[in-house]
Symmetry: C2
């Protein structure tokens, strides 16, 4: 542990924003850098990203995607080919204007997203239906010139993956858009223990340049919504703007259909804000880079040899574990394991050993339990890890359900947002003006039109005219 | 296979430079982009990089290193703190001068390398000997404004890893510098099947800002040398320039010692230029993303079922294999497997099956061998992969030895470089002026002062004065 570390964490219920940054710093996930608006991903934060990346990368590959890497810099003329995209991103890009001690003839922007370069590549590499589909993904960093930044949630530079695919038919591209949304949604449920809601963005909230956008929306502990992943269907917009033509099966020139989809290090922010507490980080076991910490309370031979025995057994079973053998006090080690969110802690003390027991502590509830030393430690730990994973999801789901309101009256809507925000389910006529009206309530926005719509009223909550969709609304990060 | 592909590869002995780019394109490793000097890493090229990254990442982690991620952009004042580094890199960086539609008050450069940001981070995060050592690594892309570019060998943007470590003592930092060099060297031998030479760079050739630089040097098929990895010892240069101070064990303020080390996608270029041939890529099995291709020559049930049986067996044993079930002709499939450098090809034909045999083809020598269908295919393939790996190394070593010359006379030296370049072992007095004289011979440079020096003469090959070191010389990429 660094000598500079200070584990003092503001209470989550006192000041949520301060609590959040305290956890980020105390758990050594990230620190501020001297590049304005950019953070340093410290070992614990980066390991968490690696853990997410490894799981998702496997899921992408299992579904036929391959990784590629496109240039970081995009010539201005290339960026400008798709009008909506450029309108959406041009105000927030960084421009390279000098290189090798010379002023450049054309500005190059640092990629805020790579639809343009992928489309340009597709235009030069695709000519026949035999070249389709291409199912590509890229792990990289992107840059957006944000004014207000917060670690992981909104940073000028962040890490992400961006999938870019191109298909012969509309149907195939639409199926891909939905499949990738489902992969994200499953990842949130199964690994991050976050009960996400999926649906379609409204026209106003969709990605610049997309025909439509699917989104994964999650609700944080404080009732604020976080857009946590998106999957876009482009139709032929980019293929027309970038001149991607191919000879189809009827031997005619045609434009293919495209998609893109991405999740980012913002998921680390979601993990913190859904699960963590006043003692620091709480990580779902399936995503925790280190799942078990073994803490010898004394330095006696018997204690250390049992610790090593446990480490061996756990490691052999593929459960990532380590012994905290630093010279610090047991209390200090316990606190450190807690602040870092290690799901299970095994405490081995001499006095306990004399009684034939060791203590298992689960990080999420901080419950302690004694188990006999001759127990099957691997089995016990596995059961505990499964319990933690399931319980964390269940608790998060319960909390989300408690904070999800159904509204048919605008005054009720305002009351909820002003007193105890959360997700609000309310009917909408489809008019952007009504969305604007809602936005006047503390910036509340439509999160999505969920897939399994259920009519709760016939009238738009704003104008009272005929309702078209059930929409989930919420204040956002 | 893309319909646009054209597998015509210029002969290696006719035009080596053209052959190289032909192989890059034909094996679909990379293609040119519309961002000048930057390439697109296509699926095959990126998979090769992933393969290298996965192996090295594990070696780094096994030796106690953890991954982090630092900002892409470096404020100009931060870059300028270490005078030698800035002199070395300032002429070849790209500058961001506009962001979010505004001109910036201070230019930001895109990292050409990250000593500056790591040092700045260390300055703010280290205060006691208890914080040391820090053993960090970063996988990222970097940018250098090169004028002449060639795929993988010299590109404005390239992918690499940069390790940055900081230590209490000189001894520890120097040991780290050497350890990482050894990890690289072993990786070249064991995985890339490239017999590298390691040693110290001369003062003139060392990294800007380093006290000294170790290097991994490899010799390409055409006798040209490629600097393939470097490990730098910085002493206290950066800690003094960036004000990294810590309280040592005597409770006094002191400056720590630093190192950095890196290898890049240039290794892909080395792989091509050492091993590949006129039929395309040749990959050492240990680094090949796909080790075996199974090609059914007919579509009969018996053939396809054996193909699937083999695939199952190989996959279960962790040998990455696939069936080429495209509708193309067998000859086309064979050629594609060759151009892509798949180490082992299994051909299954109906007529062969009637005889109870299948054909194994090794890519490196293109030798074919029939094996009985009831053979243990996994064992046979494993032996063959091991043979290929070993033989590729042996051949590369033999070639390097044939192209390594020992010289004591400058005229001989010139003759060799002018007629059939390679590594030249020659004595040197240590004077940079003599190095300059050598450089006049087709740009020939000192590659390194190898560790196990062997005096071959008492005199400097240039000035005839007392020789200090044996130096390996060569023309470089």
């Amino acid at each position: 542990m660094d000598s500079k570390q200070n584990n003092k964490i503001t209470s989550r219920n006192t000041d949520f924003a301060k609590w959040y940054t305290d956890v980020v710093v105390a758990a050594k996930l990230a620190s501020y850098s001297n590049t304005k608006g950019c953070i340093v991903f410290e070992p614990n934060g980066y390991a968490l990203w690696e853990s997410m990346r490894n799981i998702l990368d496997q899921k992408f590959k299992e579904t036929g995607h391959t990784n590629v890497y496109m240039p970081l810099l995009i010539p201005e003329n290339l960026l400008r080919k798709e009008a909506e995209l450029v309108k959406g991103f041009a105000p927030e890009v960084a421009w390279v204007t000098e290189g090798g001690d010379k002023k450049l003839e054309e500005r190059l922007c640092i990629r805020p997203t790579s639809e343009t370069v992928f489309s340009d590549y597709f235009a030069s590499s695709i000519s026949s239906y035999r070249d389709l589909p291409k199912l590509y993904n890229q792990w990289c960093s992107v840059l957006r010139w944000e004014k207000e930044t917060r670690p992981f949630l909104r940073s000028r530079e962040f890490l992400w993956q961006e999938g870019h695919t191109i298909h012969e038919t509309k149907e195939e591209a639409e199926a891909e858009t939905l499949n990738m949304l489902n992969i994200y949604n499953n990842f949130f449920h199964e690994y991050l223990a976050i009960p996400s809601i999926v649906g379609k963005k409204t026209e106003k909230e969709k990605f610049a340049g997309a025909e439509y956008t699917y989104t994964v929306e999650a609700l944080m502990y404080n009732g604020v919504a976080l857009q946590s992943g998106t999957s876009h269907y482009f139709g032929q917009k980019f293929s027309k703007a970038y001149g991607i033509k191919y000879t189809n099966r009827e031997n005619k020139l045609d434009y293919p259909y495209q998609t893109s989809w991405g999740v980012s290090t913002r998921m680390i922010g979601a993990l913190i804000m859904v699960h963590s507490d006043d003692y620091g980080l709480v990580l779902p076991p399936k995503i925790a880079p280190k799942k078990v910490v073994i803490i010898p309370i004394t330095d006696t031979l018997e204690v250390l040899s049992l610790a090593n025995d446990y480490l061996d057994k756990l490691t052999k079973e593929g459960i990532s574990a380590y012994i905290d053998s630093s010279g610090k006090s047991p209390g200090f080690k316990f606190a450190e394991a807690e602040v870092n969110g290690i799901p299970v802690r095994i405490e081995i003390g001499k006095r306990d050993l004399d009684k034939g027991v060791v203590t298992l502590v689960r990080r999420d509830t901080r419950e302690k339990r004694e188990v006999f030393t001759d127990t099957d430690i691997v089995r016990d730990v596995k059961i505990l890890l499964d319990d933690i994973q399931r319980d964390m999801y269940d608790r998060a789901l319960r909390r989300r359900e408690e904070m999800t309101y159904t509204c048919t009256d605008l005054e009720d809507f305002k009351d909820i947002i002003n007193s105890h925000p959360g997700f609000i389910r309310a009917m909408w006529c489809g008019d952007a003006k009504c969305e604007e009206k809602i936005k006047e309530i503390r910036g509340c926005k439509s999160r999505c039109i969920p897939f399994n719509e259920e009519k709760i009223s016939d009238k738009c909550i704003v104008c009272g005219k005929e309702a078209k969709n059930l929409v989930i609304w919420g204040i956002q990060y």
